[in-house]
Structures are given as structure tokens and as C-alpha cells.
Amino acid sequence: MSIKHTVQEWIGSEQILLLIFLTISTYMFIESYTFTGSYIFPRYSALVMMLFAIMMLGNHLLPESIRRITTSSGGLESYATESVDKSTEQVESPIEDDPVEEEQSVEPNMKNAWITIGLMSGYVVFSYLFGMMWMTPLFVVAYTYQFDQPIKVIVVATVIATMFAYLFTTTLVLPLDEGILWEGPRWF
């Protein structure tokens, strides 16, 4: 097994997630030393989080006995899953609570997620600049077009979303028709 392969295996998206957690908790830990009072909770929570993140980063290096603790499960859920001898693969995407699914062996299709995140970041930034009401139809058109929807569907989805944006702007009296670069039309 080449070194390159080993590194690739180790630095997956979970490791990046853990590094983000580690960075945030380290920052919060250090920053807590500037507080005069009310530092106990954030400081020690950040410290524990740092340690746990480091522990998870080096999880495969840990001895089996400690690793059992990091992966041991709680009572009720194991009762439920252990006792159902029927195939639990049928139990999919439980939304009400957490995903029950185990560590996913097959990496899901992340390309679509990142396309969506990209479109969403444009939506947020341009909404901030020019007003969310105007960017909403553009975002919906961009998304539905990207995912090959028929014209009829694009139109219906865009109309529904735009209607929501309009309702938010008017009934909740939110300045969503303006952004920092554009004051919006005055005909509202």
C-alpha cells in the first residue's frame, strides 16, 4: 500500500470535519482567557471538545478497549435494532430523529450536494447585495435547470418560491426587496 493511498484514506471528509471542529474549539478555548467572568463553561467545553476531536482523528491508532467506548451504543436504540431480526436495511432515511444508518460504506453522491451548496452560496451573497426577493426566482430557476427539470416544472417551482418571497416581504414587513448595493424599486 503506497503512502499516497494511506494519506488519501486517512484524510476523508470526516477528518476535515474534525479539523474544523478542532479549529473552532481551539479558538474558543484560547479566546476564553480574555473573559473576566463566565468563562468556565465555554473554556472547559472547548477543551473537552478539542480532546475528543483529537481522539477521533487518531481513532484507528487507539487500542481496542478505548475504541469500544468511542463506538459503544446506548440502551434503547440497540434494543430496538438488535431485536428486529428483519432486515434493517429497509429502514431508510429516518428524518424525525437522527439517521440510524451505520457509517456509510459507499460515499454518497457529493457532487450534487456541492453543486447545491454553490448555488446556495450565490443565492445568499447576491441576496445580501441586491435583495432576497429578486434572487429567489433566479436561484430556483438555476437549481431546477441544473437538475434537468422540464420547463413546466421550472415555471411552477419558480412561481411558488417567488410567491413565498413576496409574502415574507409584505406580510412580515421585511426589507427583502433591497440589498446593500441596491435600494430596490420604490413601487412597493
Partner: protein, 499 residues
């Protein structure tokens, strides 16, 4: 006082517009519940910012209506497509889908509707009846008890983390750390605000809920393309048959409802667990266990009667201690806080009518589910056929609009955006979202009550063992935290002893 509050609650529910919000909530709930991949907590999180201008009670009834409706709605796609609309309906697939395959989809759907209604109604009635017993218990709670209760809620991360305790704790601590941004509880000190007043009030935990329950969920849906369009089932069968099968099995309904209620009341449990427990119990006690998994009506009755009853059970810790039992109740708690309704003794004394209004609304709501459920049955197939790529952009738009609507603050929009990306990866790598939400909500409660407890005691920690109730809570916490860690060792010792 109890009867007076009950009367007030009934009057409120029947006063027209509240009933309207209830029915609206149920329709939204059944709708989002029946869409695979979209559950109660998502529907509630999206609607939450819209309730800002509403009266508090109406908002809560709207939200609980969605919760209750989604519990039933989840069974629709479970039966028709073998994909549970919500986790609470996961066990329904075992026999519901089999019934549908045998050409009795309508029978399965009506069995689900009727048992949802009976199970739910029983739980809400029971709660109203036992509420006078809950009241004195809640009134015993002061600052130190609230601190311990919040810690107990955080300790349930060991239960909700499901197979990855350290990951669960990381998620919980992350949620808590995000909540420390802004002015510290009970102190004028600001933390992590970068000197700007806009962050003085911290990051909105409602934005956090929208991020993890709505947007991150949509992102996750984009990664699982094609799963929803499973082969459909021809809708045929008999509506009345469902009614008859349920009515003939009152004990099964009552038992499943009770299981749902009790499991729901355990913080960190909720519908996703209760439906399995009820199913297993039905299987265990059945005279005809081999029929299970091949389309036995009991296999639909048990999970469906239990998951609607779970709603009632989950309300107990949420309303009395502010500890959410599940994702949906976390959003409900957000609604309570957003509308200035503080969970706690108040909801069982001066504001008892609010508690009763919620329970009665749910009770009435169950009857509405019966009507809507039967109306929906023939049309149910259409809803579940809506393409995810239409749902996803609309949910994202609603989430962003809602995020801004919370406090007219762009920080909340940025929060939703950033946390949703982290939330996606947390979901993918099994970092418990519920643990994250628990940390975000309970952390500040724990911190505030600890600070106040120490003010009261003059910095002595003995305040937490000064009374029997507090000692009991401390023991409960210890068992919850160390139970799962010690379990393998205990069972090993036990097997050795048996040898």
C-alpha cells in the same frame, strides 16, 4: 384551577381561528410527513419563523398540528413505497408495504389512520387525566433542579448518539459552544462577538434548527438521487376494513399507545424508537407471529398507534422542563421560547390553559386526522410522486427567508448557510444531530442555572445534593452517562458469574 384552565382551553380551541391553525398544521404535517425525506422536524422548522407575528398559543398549536399530522403522514409513503416518510413510521414498512403489495393499500392506509387516531387520542386523554399529578412534581423544581435536569438532558446524548458516543459528545459540545456566542447568561460579559453588537445576542438557535433539520437534510437528499422514485403500488382495497381491524384489537392499540407515550417521554428517545418497540412487543405477544412481515394488520397497528402517542409523551419533558425528547420537540421548544412561553412550573400553574390547549388541540386534531386521512388516501400517491428537485429549492428558499425573518439579521442567514454544510457532513458521518441540538438548547440553560445556584449557595456545590430530589437527579445522570460505558463490562462479569 385545573377545571378552569381546561374550560379556558376548550373555549380557545373552539374559538374559530385556533381551530383553523390546527387544521392547517395537520394538513402541512400530513403533507410533509408523506414526502419521503421530509419529516415533522423539517416542516416545523420551516414554519417556525412564519409564526413570529402569531399569538403564542396559536403558533404552538400550529406546530404541534404539524408534528401530529406528520406522524400519520409518514405511514403513507411507508405503505405505498416501502420508504418511511418519517423515522417514526419505519416499522410500518414491514407489514404495511406487504399489505399494499397484496392489493390492499387502502386497507393498510386506513388501518394506519385509525390506529394513529386511537393511539394518539388515548395518550392525550391520559395526559390530561394525569396532569394534576405532574403539576406538583414540576412545582418542586427550583434553580438547582433545573441545572441538574439540563445536565440530565445533555447526558441523554449517550442514548441519542447511537453507536458513537464520542461523536455524539463532539456534536453536543459544538452545539453548546455555538450557543455561548453573545452576552453570557446572567452577566453583562460578551463572548466571541468580535466587538459587534449584532452578535451580542448570539447565534439564533432557531437558525441552527433550520440549518440542521431543513437545509442540511435537503443537501443530504441531493446525495441520494433516485431513491424516492420506487415502483408505485396500485391503490386498491377497502377503507372500512381498516376501521374494523383496529376496533377488534383494542388491547393492542392501548398497549402500543402506552409504549409510544412512555418512550416519547424519555428525553432523547422519540418516535423513531417507539415504533420499533411497539412492533416488537406486538410480534412477541402475537398468537400468530409468523404472519408478521407478510402483511399482518397488527404490524401496521402497533407502530402507528405508538408513533402518534409518542407526540403526547414527548410533550411532557418539553413543556415541564424544557428538555426536548426529539428533533421535533426541539423545534417545538424553539417555538415556545420564540413566543415568550417559558417551559416549567408556569405552564402547570398560571399558564396551565396553554398546556391544556395544546393537549386538547392534539386530541381534536386526531379526529381531523381521521377525516383528512381518509380523504387523502385516494390521492396519497400523487404527493409522494413530487420530484425531490422541486422540493429541494423551495425548502431552501423557505429556510433562507425564514432565517432572515427570525430577527431581521443577516447573521442568521449566514448561520443557516454555514451550519447546514457542517450539518450535512455531521449526518453523513453519524455525528448525532439531536446531540448538537440538545447542546445548543440545554447548554445555556445549564450554564445560567449553575451560575444562579452558586450565587444562591455562596459557591458551594453541596447545594446539588442538599435535597432528596436533587440526589435522585444526580443518580439519574450518573446512570445515564456511565450505563452505556459499563454495560459491556457488566455483562461480561455476569456471564463469567454464570459460568
Amino acid at each position: 384551577m385545573v377545571l378552569e384552565a381546561l374550560g379556558e382551553a376548550v373555549a380557545l380551541i373552539l374559538s374559530g381561528h385556533t381551530l383553523y391553525f390546527l387544521i392547517l398544521g395537520l394538513i402541512i404535517g400530513i403533507f410533509v410527513g408523506s414526502l419521503p425525506g421530509i419529516g415533522a422536524s423539517l416542516g416545523m422548522a420551516i414554519v417556525l419563523p412564519l409564526t413570529v407575528p402569531m399569538e403564542g398559543v396559536d403558533a404552538i398549536i400550529l406546530l404541534t398540528g404539524i408534528y401530529s399530522g406528520a406522524m400519520y403522514g409518514g405511514s403513507i409513503s411507508a405503505i405505498l413505497f416501502n420508504v418511511p416518510g418519517t423515522a417514526g413510521a419505519a416499522a410500518t414498512t414491514f407489514d404495511g408495504y406487504e399489505m399494499a403489495k397484496k392489493g390492499n393499500a387502502v386497507g393498510a392506509l386506513s388501518t394506519s389512520a385509525v390506529s394513529s387516531v386511537f393511539g394518539g387520542s388515548m395518550a392525550f386523554l391520559l395526559l390530561i387525566l394525569i396532569s394534576p399529578i405532574i403539576i406538583p412534581i414540576v412545582l418542586m423544581f427550583g434553580t438547582p433542579e433545573y441545572f441538574l435536569m439540563a445536565i440530565f438532558g445533555l447526558a441523554t446524548i449517550t442514548i441519542v448518539a447511537r453507536g458513537a458516543m464520542v461523536k455524539g459528545f463532539i456534536a453536543g459540545l459544538f452545539g453548546f459552544l455555538l450557543s455561548t456566542v453573545g452576552i453570557a447568561p446572567l452577566s453583562p460579559e460578551t463572548r466571541y462577538t468580535f466587538g459587534t453588537t449584532v452578535l451580542f445576542d448570539g447565534l439564533s438557535f432557531i437558525a441552527g434548527l433550520i440549518a440542521v433539520f431543513a437545509v442540511a437534510e435537503m443537501l443530504r437528499l441531493t446525495t441520494q438521487e433516485g431513491k424516492i422514485k420506487e415502483e408505485g403500488i396500485t391503490i386498491s382495497g377497502n377503507i372500512l376494513q381498516g376501521f374494523n381491524t383496529v376496533v377488534k384489537r383494542p388491547i393492542l392499540v392501548a398497549k402500543s399507545g402506552l409504549i409510544g407515550m412512555v418512550v416519547g417521554a424519555i428525553p432523547g428517545a422519540g418516535g423513531s424508537i417507539s415504533n420499533f418497540v411497539a412492533y416488537i412487543e406486538a410480534l412477541r405477544s402475537s398468537k400468530n407471529p409468523e404472519a408478521f412481515g407478510t402483511g399482518a394488520a397488527e404490524g401496521v397497528i402497533a407502530p402507528e398507534a405508538s408513533n402518534n402517542a409518542t407526540v403526547g409523551g414527548a410533550l411532557v419533558p418539553t413543556l415541564s422542563f424544557g428538555i426536548p425528547g426529539s428533533g421535533s420537540t426541539a423545534v417545538l421548544l424553539g417555538g415556545l421560547i420564540l413566543h415568550g412561553i417559558r417551559p416549567g412550573p408556569n405552564l402547570f400553574s398560571a399558564e396551565l390553559f396553554i398546556t391544556y390547549s395544546i393537549l386538547i388541540a392534539l386530541l381534536v386534531g386526531n379526529l381531523v386526522i381521521l377525516v383528512l386521512g381518509i380523504l387523502f388516501i385516494t390521492r396519497a400517491g400523487y404527493i409522494t410522486k413530487i420530484d425531490v428537485h422541486v422540493i429541494i429549492p423551495i425548502i431552501i428558499v423557505l429556510s433562507m427567508l425564514g432565517a432572515y425573518a427570525i430577527r431581521s439579521n443577516w447573521v442568521d442567514v449566514a448561520t443557516v448557510f454555514l451550519i447546514s454544510i457542517l450539518g450535512l457532513y455531521m449526518k453523513l458521518h453519524n455525528y448525532s444531530i439531536i446531540a448538537f441540538v440538545l447542546g445548543m438548547i440545554l447548554g445555556p440553560i445549564a450554564e445560567e442555572n449553575l451560575a444562579r445556584s452558586l450565587d444562591i449557595s455562596g459557591d458551594s456545590l453541596f447545594i446539588f445534593v442538599a435535597e432528596p430530589l436533587r440526589i435522585l437527579l444526580v443518580l439519574l445522570i450518573l446512570v445515564t452517562v456511565f450505563g452505556p460505558i459499563l454495560k459491556p463490562y457488566i455483562s461480561r462479569v455476569r456471564t463469567r458469574l454464570e459460568l
